[in-house]
């Protein structure tokens, strides 16, 4: 236990750079801190939106059913932890380069797994803070009662335990038993993705089954105290138990949650002891069968195509990059597709097409900041960045290739979002085309902003690829500065809507703004690239 705690402490120090924090603040990173402070208003704005969402949710629920809002919050939190946690766990458990340095230490597999699990858990807590805490504050203000905050703290701490444990178990099993000789990492990631789809499909069918209630049964259920909460919580009982403990002081629910959490963690440690070593063994093998002669060099490509190829190869062949980069943009539409219909019933016509089109434009434009891809364009090269400095290719061309490539990838998420809008809301085809085009133009500016952040403050000295993705503050800077910019645009759009502007006029205004901002940011980017590639150490 003591050894596992020592390892955990080491991971935390490494993960958050605690030991070098003072040095970094003394050195050149003070400017980063300053930028961070300047971006706090947009972070506060984000928290306010979450707070207002929860406050609205609680107030709009029928009297006596408000705790259903808490259940929705914990259910969503659990889903987020499971989906994003599984890939974070994957990289920390299996793809981290530190495995080679700790395997020879006198540590049991379960101790290593425990320390790694606890490190990911801390990260999940930090991720959940901006999502859950505003919801808890809203509840405390609307329904003040004694001893709420101690219960809230316990609920918060327990929320990620079960979904993260399930994620760890899925990861351990897939990594241990998917052992194809060729493209093993690819098939393992595919295995995890298939597992996720299975879980969501399972959830989807449970919800469909719930729709089998007769109207009378539903009315009866909704009239019962906390009936709605029970209905929502059926698909994921830990969310129900957490909400029952928090809102009603139900200690039996707490006991159920505690037992399930402890059991889940014990199972992770047990599986870790049995499966971890087998899961991380190998990975660097090469095929035994050698070619008799070298295949001739393939046909030459243009320089720009070669740069795009490099971006693709470095991205798709690293499971950590692949999963972190794709998940954020693929899963929001997928989750909406699976979860929204059951919440809103018949959707076509339920929401104004104008609002839907504007949401689509905003979503597609914001995609580069939601995905960490553009904001880690340079950082992903890591120690191999010397090659980019060496090759006779203009830095401007190199960063533009990075921007174009990340725009293409994030556009896939946008395309998926548009398909979901079409299927769920029957949005007219031309409205979709317009939203896609205007959103894409907007995404170029946001993407340029994110790449610019990484050009100014790249993180190149990593050994664990996860550090280049999640441990990289440029993603946060990109997201916060994008939310400032898009927040301003959103305010303008609200004014235009209130003044009676139609979708065509608003799209034209947005297009003008997006083009102007993209031109300015691209100029900044192009000017800053040679400084990084040729001037800085």
């Amino acid at each position: 236990m003591r050894r596992a705690l020592s390892l955990w402490r080491l991971y935390l120090q490494n993960n958050f750079g605690l030991s070098s924090l003072r040095q970094r603040l003394r050195g050149g990173e003070r400017i980063k801190l300053l930028v961070f402070l300047l971006l706090i208003p947009s972070f506060v704005g984000f928290l306010t939106i979450i707070y207002q969402f929860f406050a609205g949710l609680y107030q709009n629920l029928p009297p006596g059913q408000e705790a259903a809002g808490l259940t929705i919050g914990f259910l969503t939190a659990g889903t987020l932890v499971f989906v994003f946690g599984i890939f974070y766990l994957l990289s920390v458990f299996f793809f981290a380069e530190d495995n080679q340095r700790i395997l020879y230490l006198p540590l049991r597999p379960r101790e290593i797994v425990g320390a790694k699990f606890a490190t990911v858990l801390v990260n999940e807590y930090l991720t959940l803070v901006p999502f859950l805490v505003p919801g808890l504050i809203a509840w405390a203000q609307l329904f003040p009662e004694p001893f709420f905050w101690p219960r809230a703290l316990i609920s918060f701490l327990l929320t990620p335990l079960v979904p993260l444990s399930v994620a760890a178990l899925v990861g351990l099993v897939v990594m241990r038993f998917v052992n194809l000789p060729k493209s093993r990492d690819f098939w393992r990631v595919a295995g995890i993705l298939i597992s996720l789809v299975v879980v969501f499909a399972f959830q989807f069918f449970i919800m469909r089954a719930q729709r089998g209630y007769t109207q009378e049964e539903l009315v009866k259920l909704l009239l019962a105290p906390d009936g709605l909460m029970s209905l929502i919580g059926r698909s994921y009982p830990p969310a129900l138990w957490t909400a029952q403990f928090l809102a009603r002081g139900n200690f039996v629910a707490l006991l159920e949650l505690l037992l399930l959490s402890a059991g889940a963690i014990a199972l992770v440690l047990f599986a870790g002891e049995r499966l971890f070593l087998g899961a991380i063994e190998g990975g660097g093998e090469v095929s035994k069968r050698k070619k008799d002669f070298v295949q001739p060099q393939s046909k030459p490509r243009g320089i720009f195509l070669a740069l795009l190829w490099r971006e693709t190869a470095l991205f798709v062949r690293n499971p950590v990059f692949l999963t972190n980069g794709i998940l954020n943009i693929i899963f929001p539409p997928v989750i909406i597709f699976f979860l929204l219909p059951s919440s809103l019933g018949k959707l076509p016509g339920a929401v104004s097409p104008l609002y839907l089109e504007l949401i689509a434009i905003g979503y597609i434009a914001a995609l580069p900041s939601l995905s960490v891809l553009p904001a880690t364009s340079i950082s992903r090269e890591g120690k191999q960045f010397w090659l980019s400095r060496l090759i006779p290719v203009a830095p401007q061309l190199q960063v533009l290739a990075k921007l174009l490539w990340s725009s293409i990838i994030t556009s896939l998420g946008g395309l998926l979002g548009l398909v979901v809008l079409r299927v769920l809301f029957k949005l007219p085809f031309w409205a979709l085309v317009r939203a896609g085009f205007v959103g894409f133009v907007g995404s170029i500016g946001i993407g340029a902003l994110a790449v610019l952040m990484d050009t100014l403050w790249p993180s190149l000295e990593w050994t664990d690829p996860q550090k280049a993705m999640k441990g990289n503050l440029t993603g946060l800077y990109g997201m916060l500065s994008a939310s400032l910019y898009l927040g301003g645009v959103a305010l303008l759009v609200i004014k235009l809507v209130n003044s009676g502007w139609g979708p065509g006029g608003i799209a034209a205004v947005l297009l003008g703004i997006f083009v102007a901002v993209a031109v300015v940011l691209l100029q900044f980017l192009v000017k800053s690239a040679p400084v990084l590639y040729w001037k800085e150490d």
């Binding site: 060099q297 195509l305 470095l314 062949r317 290719v393």
Partner: protein
């Protein structure tokens, strides 16, 4: 020709001078050995020469092209092998060479011929289809050398190229470099192995505390006195 003119590079806001007012010239057809104790400034000088670092002051002129004024034209003239070849681990050797061939715009026929010739020579041809991450240090070093020579650059700069190579590959590399220089190209390399420098180089430079403290042929360094390069090295670096 390589011309380094009053090259200076400092760190910690001028507190540490890694390269201090360094000037030297290397002519076409020369093999130039760059020597110095650990931390003397060899790697920093080389990084300044290939454009990975920018100097505080001074100039790097490669084959008549000023690196600061026209970096792309200057970079086209050189090949570089770093001391620790960090290459893309998930890319195969052949893909890496293809990428370099593309960005250096090496014609198809030439890149195929050189890949096969160097691959055979370094006994790497069977492994080029494997990911670089599965390569040993020596294999990565060989691949980095193949990449640096793929465009047959007039200037080849190598930082400790013999480290990690087995005796056969080390011998082979020296032969290849000798042949490259005999075609009128420049080979500039740093090393700690004084015997190699003594036997292999046309001229030598010794750097200490960022300053070039001696430069010339072995005979010029000896100044007519008896002694090995090791003795000269120890004498000038311990002054």
């Amino acid at each position: 020709m390589i011309e380094l003119l009053e090259l200076t590079k400092s760190y910690n806001r001028g507190e540490i001078r890694a390269v201090d007012d360094l000037s030297l010239t290397v002519e076409r057809g020369e093999i130039y050995g760059f020597l110095g104790p650990n931390g003397a400034g060899k790697t920093t000088t080389i990084k300044l020469m290939v454009g990975i670092l920018a100097p505080d002051s001074g100039q790097v002129i490669l084959d008549g092209v000023n690196l600061a004024e026209d970096p792309l034209a200057a970079k086209l003239k050189l090949g570089y092998v770093p001391d620790n070849p960090d290459l893309y681990p998930r890319v195969t050797g052949l893909e890496y060479l293809r990428f370099l061939g593309d960005v250096y715009q090496v014609p198809h026929k030439e890149r195929t011929e050189r890949t096969e010739k160097l691959g055979e020579a370094f006994s790497l041809i069977q492994n080029l289809g494997d990911p670089i991450g599965s390569f040993s240090h020596g294999m990565r070093q060989k691949l980095a050398i193949m990449g640096a020579m793929l465009a047959a650059p007039p200037i080849l700069i190598l930082d400790e190229p013999l480290v990690g190579l087995d005796p056969k590959s080390s011998h082979l590399l020296k032969e290849i470099l000798r042949e490259h220089a005999s075609l009128g190209n420049i080979v500039f390399f740093s090393t700690h192995i004084l015997e190699v420098a003594e036997r292999f180089c046309h001229r030598l430079g010794i750097i200490n505390h960022g300053q070039l403290i001696a430069s010339g042929t072995l005979e010029e360094l000896k100044k007519g006195e008896q002694g090995t390069l090791e003795e000269i090295f120890l004498e000038v670096t311990e002054k």
